[in-house]
């Protein structure tokens, strides 16, 4: 057989029927459903009198519309009142496992899937959410779908898909101390554009990926969609298998041995052809932050905002100067020292235990600056429990952070957890689009350490600097 890429191998293993010209009917192994996009499609299916084809491969949880306040109920937000009971009712009627608001496993769908061992190497995962690419961090083929496709998957457990072009991003070297996978991917998007990988599935490879912990690989794959790719993936290796082993829904015993043997085949063949290859020297990447309203509007944390005139396409120049207007910034400004009113540590990009540990290292023994509203929103109940066992919650609350319940929270303004117009937020989430955190909100995307440092300093600050100064505690 001809040499194939990792994506092609997984793709081929899921073909139910071929329509020609790169369009295939693929089997879906895991369908994840959430409160925002699930109820409408479940309702559509019921309207058509169709049952859910494979409820045993479908898993649901509320995350987008729910409040993350301690003591919350699903009645606390307008959207939650509408959608969470609908999700509950429809999943119950269809026999779909729901991790409800009071379930000890509830959380953001892209955090919970991997953590429960629902996401496995080599499986296809879809969800009515564009960040389903996150699951690629475990070597799964995951992508986001719209509501028509969502209904299609519910009805048939398959999806009609175009075979994507193949891109490999080789990350050589190793990330420096204090530089996060988030910085690497923001840098990549900054260099190659928010459509740099449009139409491609992206495989991340190279020494920086080999040495990257599995949670970091999920962060990297999470922002594949911000790079224009529906799919991001890392070949599974021993670190992946260690991560998956013993998870609640992961195979065990003889099944585990069988699975492992098959997963070891999941790598691009040495002579597999990619339509495009990009190399990036991970060692040269420094902490990054966005200055504008596209994830491609990224700069070095200690750099200066580039001149919009430096953009190649005229339309991009205009977009960049509009973005500066929205952000209340000027070309040539430094971001270091710019006052912030909000800090959000959370979202499916950066809310796993390793992220909270990174943040806690900066925060420990320090205080959140006056006038800053700083939140830590763990990605799941499991992350929250583990953090509490490690005492991280006390590090955060002692500093003046709010320690909240799992959910999407300030990543997306649908749960009434907003940044007010004109105010500035450093966020560890993945989108700085106009209106994403609320109308008029000014969002700076960054890694966890940079967000934590901003909370302490009350302005955009360099965590490496802070790490050198002694804390009192």
């Amino acid at each position: 057989m001809a040499a194939r890429t990792l994506v092609q191998k997984i793709w081929d293993a899921h073909i139910v029927a071929e329509f020609g010209d790169g369009l295939d009917l693929l089997h879906i192994d895991r369908h994840l459903i959430h409160d925002l996009s699930g109820p409408a499609s479940l309702g559509k299916l019921a309207e058509r009198g169709l049952p859910v084809r494979s409820p045993e491969l479908t898993f649901a949880m509320p995350d987008h519309t729910v409040s993350t306040a301690v003591g919350r109920t699903d009645a606390d937000t307008r959207a939650g009142r509408m959608l969470v009971p609908a999700l509950r009712e429809r999943t119950h009627a269809e026999g779909i496992r729901l991790f409800d608001l009071d379930d000890p496993e509830q959380g953001i769908v892209h955090v919970v899937g991997p953590e429960l061992g629902l996401t496995l190497p080599g499986v296809t995962v879809v969800c009515g959410d564009s960040h389903t690419c996150t699951h690629g961090g475990l070597g799964a083929l995951g992508w986001g779908i719209g509501s028509s496709d969502l209904t299609h998957v519910l009805a048939t457990q398959t999806i009609v898909q175009r075979r994507p072009k193949q891109m490999r991003v080789i990350c050589s070297g190793r990330l420096g101390t204090g530089v996060e996978p988030k910085d690497l991917v923001l840098h990549l998007i900054g260099e190659h554009g928010a459509d740099g990988a449009a139409g491609f599935a992206v495989e991340y490879a190279g020494s920086a990926i080999d040495s990257m912990p599995v949670e970091g690989r999920m962060t990297l794959c999470n922002l594949a969609i911000e790079f224009g790719a529906k799919i991001g993936i890392v070949a599974p290796d021993d670190a992946t298998f260690d991560y998956v082993a013993g998870r609640r829904y992961a195979p065990a015993g003889a099944l585990w041995e069988l699975a492992l043997a098959s997963w070891r085949e999941l790598a691009s063949d040495a002579d597999a052809a990619f339509d495009r290859e990009i190399e990036i020297d991970a060692a040269a990447v420094s902490p990054q932050i966005t200055w504008g309203t596209s994830p491609a509007h990224t700069m070095a944390l200690d750099g200066e905002i580039p001149d919009p005139e430096s953009a190649q396409v005229p339309a991009a120049r205009l977009a960049r100067s509009k973005a500066l207007g929205h952000m209340g910034l000027n070309a040539g400004d430094r971001l270091l020292g710019v006052p912030v009113q909000h800090v959000f540590i959370g979202s499916c990009a950066n809310s796993r235990i390793s992220d909270l540990q990174t943040a806690a290292q900066i925060v420990r023994g320090r205080r959140v600056a006056q006038g800053v509203r700083a939140w830590v929103v763990p990605g799941s109940q499991a992350v929250r429990r583990e953090a509490e066992e490690l005492g991280l919650d006390r590090v955060f609350t002692a500093a003046g952070f709010q320690w909240r319940e799992p959910g999407c929270s300030m990543c997306l303004g649908v749960n009434e957890e907003l940044v007010p117009p004109g105010e500035r937020c450093v966020a560890t989430s993945n989108r700085n689009f106009v209106g994403r955190q609320g109308p008029g909100a000014r969002t700076h995307l960054a890694g966890v350490a940079t967000a934590a440092a901003a909370a302490i300093a009350g302005r955009i600050a360099d965590p490496r600097q802070l790490a050198r100064e002694p804390a009192d505690g």
């Binding site: 010209d21 045993e56 719209g146 496709d149 224009g228 596209s294 396409v313 989108r431």
Partner: protein, 203 residues
């Protein structure tokens, strides 16, 4: 779903790159229901911060009222998977979007909603946009060809299966349900090969 064979009319030049689906349908409006989704489609571009219609936005200009074609910038409709973006654009009367590149999820969703997305080189989109406002364009899916007001024609490619779906207006769910035997066969074979996918512990 409505079928699509061809459309004729004005083309709106909106060549801003990276217009994301949060801009096309802001989440606040999504939660307010179908009417708000349409009324506030492209809200940050179509409205000024004080809530008035922005006369500078081509979507608001008389010349492009009821135009069925949108000439968009690169990476059009990137971001969130929300299909409301497709619905809002359809509700504005648009049936065809021509852009250098699209958000992948949006691109596929268009075909499920009777909307034709066409990817052309930036220079070709620019050339078409140069004639926007100068008369009627025609997009012919059967012949896979765009005709500009000056009579110039530009060919485009479209996946044959997706083209067929648009031409017939047939729902993909119906088509796939007709393949239930193949799906059941696949699952049966696959269960032998990868039993761990189907036999989950502790469900």
């Amino acid at each position: 779903m409505d079928s699509f064979t061809s459309v004729q009319g004005a083309a709106i030049p909106l060549q801003v790159p990276d217009i994301d689906t949060d801009v096309i349908t802001p989440i606040k409006r999504v939660m307010e229901g179908a009417e708000a989704i349409t009324q506030y489609a492209f809200e940050p571009l179509r409205y000024t911060p004080d809530g008035a219609l922005n006369p500078d936005c081509p979507l608001n200009q008389d010349a492009y009222r009821d135009a069925p074609i949108l000439l968009a910038g690169a990476n059009f409709a990137c971001g969130s998977s929300r299909e409301t973006a497709v619905w809002a654009i359809r509700a504005l009367g648009i049936r065809c979007i021509i852009a250098p590149s699209f958000g992948d999820i949006f691109f596929d969703s268009c075909f499920e909603n009777g909307l034709l997305p066409i990817a052309l080189a930036q220079a070709d989109v620019d050339a078409l946009a140069a004639h926007a406002g100068a008369g009627e364009f025609r997009v012919d899916l059967e012949r896979r060809q765009i005709t500009s007001p000056t009579g110039e024609t530009v060919p485009f490619t479209v996946n044959p299966v997706q083209r067929e779906a648009l031409l017939s207006g047939r729902d993909s769910i119906e088509r796939t349900l007709g393949r239930e035997d193949e799906i059941a066969d696949f699952q049966q074979r696959d269960r032998e090969l990868r039993p761990w996918v189907y036999e989950l512990a502790h469900v």
